[in-house]
Amino acid sequence: MNITILFFGQLAEVTGTSSLKLSGISDTDELKNTLRKQFPALEGLTYSIAVNKKMIQQKTTLKHEDEVALLPPFSGG
């Protein structure tokens, strides 16, 4: 099971990457824990999560080839 993680804005900056492949992650809570270990700089930053381009508000199960995006607060316009 592979998922793609995308980082945007300040999150891409602090992680030093704009995308990442991970496997063996079953849901978004597990993903958050994994990322927090891999990128301690994420600590204290506010972000939302989109799974396959849809915002999620709670723990969501991840499937093979899901695209998970970490989104800082929007500041368009």
Binding site: L6, F8, G9, Q10, A50, K53, A69, L71, P72, P73, F74, S75, G76, G77
Partner: protein
């Protein structure tokens, strides 16, 4: 319900004022329009910790942003009787004083055009995954926060 094709929203760099003028001119053939409402976002020379913003560098989660723009457009068409609607947003660097957002609604009557334009602006600011990096004179920067 989705009756309108997704349209290209993102423009590389600033939105030229002549483009806005031409966009207005194109509507003279739509003679059942009585009112246009336009919102323009302009990059401001804010001072943050004694440093002056000289540009905003915009990035986006483009695929999701395009879906969101389409969803917001469709919602506005359902909510208000509009003849047409255009949204343009910059990507990349836009200098202070230049236009970064252009929202344009047209209707038979003024109240619908005005309400729809404001509705679009508020939803775009709140829901579309776009980020602005405020670039300072000395090349430092800070991440913009909407309110």
């Amino acid at each position: 319900m989705s009756t309108h094709k997704p349209k290209k929203v993102f423009i590389e760099g600033a939105i030229p004022p002549e483009f806005i003028g031409e966009s207005i001119a194109k509507h003279s053939s739509k003679q059942d329009i009585g009112a246009h409402s336009i919102f323009l976002g302009q990059v401001r020379n804010d001072v943050i910790n004694d440093k002056t913003v000289v540009a905003i560098d915009y990035s986006a989660y483009e695929e999701m942003a395009n879906e969101k723009f389409h969803e917001i457009r469709e919602a506005a068409f359902e909510k208000y009787p509009l003849n047409c609607m255009h949204i343009y947003h910059s990507l990349g660097k836009v200098a202070t004083g230049k236009i970064c957002l252009f929202v344009f609604t047209s209707s038979k009557h003024r109240k619908d055009a005005i309400a729809a334009c404001e509705y679009l602006v508020e939803r775009i600011k709140a829901e579309v995954p776009v980020w602005g990096k405020e670039v300072f004179e000395d090349e430092g920067y800070s991440w913009k926060v909407n309110n």
